[in-house]
Symmetry: C2
Subunit: 120 residues, 2 copies
DNA sequence: CAGATGTATTCATACTTGTCAATATATCGA
DNA sequence: TCGATATATTGACAAGTATGAATACATCTG
């Protein structure tokens, strides 16, 4: 994926600000210690909420809050089974994240000179 | 890089909480619309602060704040040239970021069953 | 149906963070 | 040396967020 691929997503109106906002929302979903722990918890497959809760030092309502953020950004899938909620990494979400990060972390070889009209 | 690679980084004491904290710090460095714009600005090579400033709708002091965060987390290198500051993506930092994200976004095939002793 | 249990929601609170104005610092040019 | 210019720092403030207690909701079990 290259720059123009992503920019083309942004149509006339929202000026491309939309894409940044959504990307920030995705990134923020990862920007928390406990949510990183939760993701590691899900590395090996689906887990139910009570198992995740035992691995963390937080209350149940806080876990529910974190799971909501992870699900809302598309990185985690949820499945309700009776009283229990099962969570797992979404393959599709995972790939969307990888693409996004690749985009911002890429560098494109060029002359590398500063295009500033003042300095240099 | 696999899970044990990263966990081995955390020695006895800080209990591995250190690694999470550092990872969160890195992720938060990306979790802002303007900082994402700055990174795109640097895709094609080194740029001086005044050029970056022209591309964003923020004041100079705000830009300075953002650049500090990006540099402190190791993703951006800075070079002072007289009055001007030149910024560029750090290749090494970029790779550290990629490794970290790969870690949290990986999934390891296994049975996938829930290890909970209550449900199912 | 009634109590127990797993999860979600609401609310209040402490903390973090993005922003700008004002100011400080550093460097250049005359 | 003195003013201009580029960047950094400080301080204040509004907005966002992680947290837990209390409570609501849903589902199971007897």
């Amino acid at each position: 994926m290259n720059t123009s691929d992503r920019i083309s997503v942004d149509l006339q109106e929202g000026v491309d600000t939309m894409s940044y906002k959504e990307d920030v929302r995705m990134i923020k979903a990862l920007a928390d210690e406990n949510r990183l722990r939760i993701l590691e918890c899900l590395h090996h497959g689906e887990k139910c909420a009570c198992v995740i809760l035992e691995e963390l030092s937080i209350t149940q309502s806080t876990l529910s809050h974190h799971m909501k953020l992870l699900c809302d950004c598309g990185l985690v899938d949820s499945r309700k089974d009776g009283r229990w909620m099962h969570y797992s990494i979404s393959e599709e979400g995972k790939n969307r994240f990888k693409d996004m990060f690749s985009h911002y972390l890429e560098t494109i070889d060029s002359d590398g000179g500063c295009s500033c009209d003042k300095c240099e």
